[in-house]
């Protein structure tokens, strides 16, 4: 009888609605994978793309259903407290669904153009999306780790999808080796936190820390530091950013945009929850650390972005700079700062998807045409595309009347309210530095001559560019040597995706109410 009692296991109650978006994505990905094998005819890529978009849209609907649930009944946890269903998680569920819908439209045209058949790209993207959703909803360190891997491993593979370009394979290996290393560090951090607090469940850790005064917390602090290393790698915060430029440059361009948006969303979701919500008691311990990381991330991203000739590398450094801004909100360690960070992640993910969609188009067949020269005179040749790209870049700069401005405003305001004035000043300074390389691209597209500088030649810009050719180029769209400038083909799905990202950026920049309210409802469960 005693043996029987030991063996009887009462499995926890599973609220399937609470994890419905993740289930839809995983099940949909598997369905997409086998659907190609059910018929003998070759299925066109568009079928998989539409399927992927539809699955993501279903996940979006499911997320909104849960949103309605939480609004009505309040946040709750399920499956043995391992999933938190709160406003914070749902904002990220919605964001990830939107990323997937936009990314499947953008990827479709790339896959058709490059002749990459089969459902694998979309299957991997959907599975990565489910991982990012789980990271946002996870309420247990073990689940965060598994979700981190589900998100990361498809991204490593997507980086290496383009097997005809050597850089793609290089990017995949680099991302994989360094990513595996950072995951191992992250697990070590989990082990040490478990050793120090006796639990991997976030609320239990928090309540343990709240009810006990820990006199010797070496293990706990070491674990916390290692967790920060793992998260820092995912969001490319500065000491752990080394992989970013090479991987962004090498990965197929639509995969780069998707990777940026998704890894930032998933990584920051878990980072904000673990540090602010779980280890909030220890904020005097981790705040200086995050303060320092935020400062070096802001400055290094902005300064190194200035000297890049490759647009993808430039946006890689820009993404590092943006990661710094999001960390500013966390370093403030107030609920206002967290709201600012969440808003920033939301806005930046949309902006970066649109930007990389344009870069995918300009890259042309072979995905090689990413030099700054490819953008010279784009405003004359294709005014609409150039205007959209200019708006997206201005959004990233933080020009007023775009969402990017509000995002920067919120995190900097939070930093000021938390009395970290130095951080706020450095953040604004880095925004000014970063504006130089965004605006340089905009000027390049419209052939604006910069009044300053020693360049002298028409169209030659004075900002430092490594290996700038001595150009007697005129900005009206004549062909620079070695750069293939033709008319950029703009397929309809990508055009729609770019339009949506621009519309979100401008509309919610002018009329911020709805999006801000939505993000402000992103409260933690505890």
């Amino acid at each position: 009888m005693k043996l029987l009692a030991v063996l009887t296991i009462v499995t926890p109650h599973v609220n399937y609605v609470a994890i419905l978006p993740e289930l839809i994505l995983i099940g949909g990905a598997l369905l997409l994978l086998v659907s190609g094998q059910l018929v003998f005819a070759k299925i066109p890529t568009a079928f998989y793309s539409i399927g992927s978009g539809a699955i993501a849209a279903a996940a979006l609907v499911a997320s909104l259903v849960i949103w309605h649930d939480v609004q009505a009944r309040g946040p709750f946890t399920t499956i043995a407290d391992s999933v938190a269903v709160d406003g914070f998680a749902i904002v990220f569920l919605v964001l990830v669904s939107c990323i997937l819908i936009l990314a499947s439209a953008i990827a479709n045209d790339f896959l058709v153009r490059e002749g990459i058949d089969g459902p694998e790209y979309h299957v991997l993207a959907l599975l990565a999306g489910s991982g990012a959703m789980l990271m946002a909803a996870a309420n247990d360190l073990i689940l965060i780790f598994v979700a981190l891997e589900i998100m990361s491993i498809p991204l490593y593979i997507l980086a290496g999808m383009d097997s005809r370009r050597r850089e793609s394979g290089e990017a995949a290996i680099k991302y994989f080796v360094l990513g595996a290393f950072s995951s191992a560090i992250f697990v070590y951090g989990i082990a040490l936190v478990y050793g120090a607090t006796g639990s991997t469940n976030l609320p239990q850790i928090a309540s343990y820390l709240n009810t006990n005064i820990i006199t010797s917390n070496g293990v706990l602090l070491a674990g916390l530091g290692l967790l920060l290393v793992g998260f820092g790698f995912k969001v490319s915060a500065v000491p752990f950013h080394m992989w970013t430029p090479d991987v962004y440059q090498g990965a197929p361009t639509p995969a780069t945009g998707f990777m940026t948006a998704l890894a930032k969303a998933g990584g920051f979701a878990a980072l904000l929850r673990v540090f602010f919500s779980t280890f909030g008691v220890l904020r005097t311990d981790w705040q200086p650390l995050l303060w320092a990381i935020a400062i070096v991330t802001l400055l290094l991203g902005a300064i190194l972005g200035l000297v890049q000739r490759d647009v993808k590398r430039m946006l890689a450094y820009s993404s590092i700079n943006h990661a710094g801004f999001i960390l500013v909100g966390l370093a403030a360690a107030t609920s206002q700062g967290i709201s600012g960070s969440v808003y920033y992640v939301f806005v930046y993910a949309i902006l970066v998807l649109g930007s990389f969609a344009v870069i995918t188009l300009v890259g042309g067949k072979g995905d090689e045409n990413h030099d700054l020269d490819a953008y010279r005179g784009l405003g004359r040749r294709q005014p609409v595309l150039a205007f959209a790209f200019a708006l997206l870049l201005l959004g990233q700069t933080g020009i007023p009347l775009t969402t990017g401005f509000l995002a920067k405003l919120y995190v900097i305001t939070a930093a000021v309210r938390a009395h970290s004035y130095a951080l706020a000043v450095i953040a604004m300074l880095s925004a000014a530095i970063a504006a130089a390389f965004y605006l340089r691209l905009v000027f390049l597209m419209y052939g604006v001559k910069l009044p300053v500088g020693s360049g002298g030649d028409e169209g030659a810009l004075s900002l430092p560019v490594t290996g700038e050719p001595d150009d007697g180029l005129d900005p009206t769209g004549s062909v620079p040597t070695g750069v293939n400038i033709g008319r950029v083909v703009v397929p309809v799905p990508t055009a729609v995706a770019i339009f949506v990202t621009v519309a979100v950026t401008v509309v919610f920049g002018i009329w911020p109410g709805p999006l801000v309210d939505f993000v402000h409802a992103a409260h933690f469960l505890f």
Partner: protein, 240 residues
Amino acid sequence: MTHVLAATIPDAITFVMAAAICVVGALGVVLARNPVHSALMLVMTLFGVAVLFVEEDAQFLAAVQVIVYAGAIVVLFLFVIMLLGVDQKEVFQRDPLPAQRPVAIALGILGLVEVLVLARGRWPSGARSVSGAIGSPASNVSLIGRSIFTTYLLAFEVTSALLAVAVVGAVVLARRPRHSVGGNEDSTGPVAEPDDDLGGPDDTEPEGVEETIVGSGTPRGESGDIKTSGSLADVEVTGP
């Protein structure tokens, strides 16, 4: 510290010996010149960890450790090493950042010292474990099963998504491109076959010498001659 002192003498001796085996094995993995030796040293480390598990009354975990890691995974490593060619020599001539090694060592020691100072020699600070007290009447297996199907149910179940990713990813990466640069249409070649006509601009190297990344753990059909331009692994390999 207090735990070590409170333990019985045999326990302490076992711990010290097993820990020494682990550390020596781990150093061997990094320092051995021959990749096969590295793999075998890894087995030693894994056995040391298994002993530590036994010492913690986690016999099931120790058995799994030996069977899965030492038995299966290291054998897989050896397969990969053999397929890549065991008699290749690594030449570490081009270290792009020669200063990084001393700096890394210095920073590592600094971090360790910092943690030691913070801990002030008193390590354990926390609550008791939640998933099975040592010495409870239930067996190891049932405690682990209970954990997997209660506390960690979701984490356990979603690892299936990870397996799906692994399957899809392996197929994607091992597949040869249909329109490769050199017009290679062969889709049936063995996985680790050295690439011959995928070449871009790097094919000016002498015959039989190719650049590859060794030890990254991913046998990839197309990665045979990846040109690494960054600082991660500039490793030159002389072919047989």
